[in-house]
Amino acid sequence: MGWIEAKWTRRRYGLLMVLPCVAVLASLMIVPLIYELALSFHEWVWGSGLGWMFNWGLSYVKVLTDPRFSTSLYNTLIIGGSSLALEFAIGFALAFLLNREIRGRSVLVAAFTSPMMLIPVMVAHLWRIMYFQGSGPIDPIVKSVLGYSILWLQDPWASKFANVFANTWEWAPFTMLILLAGFTAIPVTLYEAARVDGASSWQMFTRITLPMARPLIVLALLIRAMEEIKLFDVIYLITTGGPGTETETVTLYIFRQAFQFLDMGKAAASSFILLIIVTVIATVSIRYMYRP
């Protein structure tokens, strides 16, 4: 081993050790990506008996000119954006309230995070039963407050928010946990010093809490934004993308192309378009996260 110890530094030895792992991960991530990119430039329908047919990227044109795709982008923006905003507002409020020494804090944290532990299929079924006017508990409550019923599963806009509320109920605790971790990491001495200097609560919140927690706030928003874009199970089970296409998101659109219509070329093209959108969002967010 003498010549190795002579020739190798610890860093290069470590690189060599992780090389097989990197190779495996690269093959699991890079190879499928390249495969799908190639597929997006071909026509291929499973079950047609025909193989790949190069189409010069016509699949991208078909997707971008498909009114159903643009509708799905719009629905993703509304449902995903609304879910993100609500999850952040509720998660932030809960994290702020729990960021103090109170009795039963750990029990409260556990209780608030319990929806996250449920499988999405169960959450979707639970909320669909609750929304259904004939049998669910939501309609009597809404009727007593508003004086009229809301057709959660039938109305175009109500059906969007039916999915938003179900999704928010499940994932707001995730935002709460991340933000709570951020808040508890802020040194207490900063607040003490600010108090000594005569800072108000609002000033401490805006000048200490928010700036110090910014990286985690951006991280929570980024993670949840990625998940909102990928949202599928709750929507599929509550409204199946309906009524009509009112709740059909991009992921559901891609699912239909790939696994119902078996049009793999179009599914690959729409997946890549989504990848570009997601990459742009992630890049902007990460730059903002690390901005001094």
Partner: protein
């Protein structure tokens, strides 16, 4: 560069040697692993012993011992395949319980290992295609819908059964609509499947409500005819409207706590197309117009538009949010006693009777689908043969003969008779009669008029089902006016399109005309996509005419 840093740097040659050696090692190891993987042994296909038992008679007594028939022949022939594993894909929640029970019975009889792989309804198709493309051999048999034939045959995911049928001679003498189910309609002489489930929509209604003197009197006063299962779709709407009650209003003399629906049909996106197809046949509507050289969607014909308008008119006469009723609400709602009429598959009959917590035990009647009065005064009834199932052998099955023998057994007369009568509380059967003898009321009366479960299909549940004979008779009359499901290549896109537009129409976003016109335009594009010649090859207009399918 300093002496120390020179010592710390590896030479390029050494680095390349080590990296290259690592990659080469991985490649060689992977190749060795692939070559050394155990082969699946394929049992010999040559028959080395001759089956000598002969069929001695028909089943006339409770089959505690199954009489020798083609099923028993399959059992004897399959014993040489003891230990063989067969993957059998079925629909989860519907076929699963029944098929699992019979697979276990087969495994005990033969020593084989038939494993049930349950998939969601439309996931069965994707499962077969993905496994077939990957050539995993994991799936040997699959319960498929005939509407998948164009995809499966073009993609070569299934194989004809002729060689095994010639060898083992299954009894298909009384299978209904045989050429349709086996795809011989499109390829005469070729049998692609053994039929296992004769699906058709039936009309279910609450006998107790229809027979209540107060309701009958009030209905007669209002509409001038007796309250009875509707003969026409117009009567269906009238009865649904009459029997819908708001909370506090009386039904059968008692106030209802929650809104009671005159009808409780499926209307949600994700299946509503079947309930629309169920209506269009009686109105004279069709999926396509086909001439010698052209095919054009006919989904926006005046007949189809009228059918949809009537369907929309009827929708509000149901439970709240009627336009969003899906499987859970239509099944659960009827069984909770929230609806007066429903239209569903035959499995709904035993489900209402035996589902745990059902509030409509002994209260459900079974009837012929409503129709449309014709110009000559007669009423044309049609009922959609929604889905329907056949058992296919996959092209990459590693044990095709063994798999075929199980298929022959489960579809054989004596065994399949028990399959279609299957109704255990936790495994409510969804395999329905597909042979003429299975509509014979005698076995149904023998089984369900007793508390003793002589056919062993109720897990010993003593509750009789007095309506069982009426149920199977209603199944028969509806099948005799059956309208086949849409059967063309790319059916999934055609179906999704009509499903979406129907959802738009039912929820009021579009008018019936606009919805079906938009659907027509989309279908025109799909015809181009999948090939006009291809669509024309599969779409046979005569198949959708009354009386074409041979009973």
């Amino acid at each position: 560069m300093s002496k120390k840093s020179e010592e710390n740097n590896i030479s390029r040659r050494k680095y390349l040697q080590i990296a290259g050696g690592t990659v080469a090692g991985l490649v060689v190891g992977g190749a060795l692993g692939y070559v050394a993987k155990p082969e699946v042994t394929v049992p010999p296909t040559t028959v080395t012993s001759t089956v000598t038992e002969t069929v001695t008679g028909t089943v006339t007594a409770p089959p505690t011992t199954v009489a020798m028939d083609t099923g028993q022949i399959a059992v004897e022939a399959a014993k040489k395949f003891a230990g063989t594993h067969i993957g059998y894909v079925v629909e989860s929640g519907f076929d699963e319980g029944c098929c699992k029970a019979f697979a276990e019975e087969w495994n005990k009889l033969t020593g084989m290992n038939v494993e049930i792989i349950a998939q969601p309804t439309f996931g069965v198709r994707e499962k077969v295609i993905t496994e077939g493309m990957a050539k995993t051999g994991a799936v040997d048999l699959v319960n498929t819908f005939p509407i998948w034939y164009p995809d499966f045959i073009a993609g070569k995911y299934i194989v004809p059964l002729n060689q095994y049928i010639d060898k083992y001679q299954p009894d298909m003498s009384d299978v209904i609509f045989k050429d349709y189910f086996t795809a011989s309609t499109w390829q005469p002489g070729v049998t692609w499947a053994l039929p296992i489930d004769g699906d058709v929509f039936m009309l279910y209604y609450r006998k107790d409500i229809f027979e209540h003197p107060d309701e009958r009197k009030a209905f007669k006063e209002q509409y001038g005819y007796d309250l009875a299962p509707p003969e026409t779709w117009q009567q269906y709407t009238q009865i649904a409207k009459f029997l819908t009650r708001k909370p506090g209003e009386k039904l059968m003399g008692q106030p209802v706590a929650a809104q009671f629906g005159g009808q409780i049909e499926f209307r949600s996106k994700g299946g509503v197309f079947w309930w629309f197809f169920n209506r269009i046949g009686a109105y004279g509507g069709r999926y396509f117009n086909k001439t010698a050289n052209n095919i054009d969607p006919a989904i926006n014909s005046p007949a189809c538009i009228q059918a949809l308008k009537d369907m929309i008119e009827c929708t509000p006469y149901g439970i709240p949010e009627a336009a969003a009723v899906a499987y859970a609400e239509t099944i659960g709602g009827m069984e909770a006693g929230s609806g007066a009429m429903n239209i569903f598959w035959p499995m709904f009959g035993p489900h209402c009777q035996y589902a745990p917590g059902s509030k409509v035990v002994d209260k459900i009647g079974y009837a012929l689908m409503p129709g449309v009065k014709q110009q000559d005064g007669s009423i044309l009834h049609r009922a959609i043969m929604a889905a329907g199932k056949v058992i296919n052998l996959t092209s990459d099955s590693r044990n095709p003969e063994a798999a075929y023998l199980f298929a022959q057994w489960i579809t054989s007369p004596a065994v399949h008779q028990r399959c279609v009568m299957w109704a255990t509380p936790t495994a409510l059967g969804a395999l329905n009669p597909v042979r003429r003898r299975e509509f014979d009321p005698a076995p149904w009366a023998q089984e369900y008029n007793t508390t003793s479960d002589p056919y062993n299909v109720r897990a010993g549940n003593p509750t009789p089902w007095p309506g069982a004979v009426d149920y199977v008779k209603a199944d028969e009359v509806n099948l005799k006016v059956g309208l086949p499901d849409i059967l063309v290549p790319g059916w999934a896109e055609f179906q999704e399109s009509i499903d979406t537009e129907l959802s738009n129409a039912v929820t009021g976003k579009k008018t019936a005309e606009n919805a079906l016109n938009d659907c027509h335009d989309q279908w025109v594009k799909f015809i181009d996509k999948y090939g006009k010649a291809n669509i024309m090859q599969w779409y046979l207009p005569e198949m959708y005419e009354p009386g074409y399918l041979k009973w």
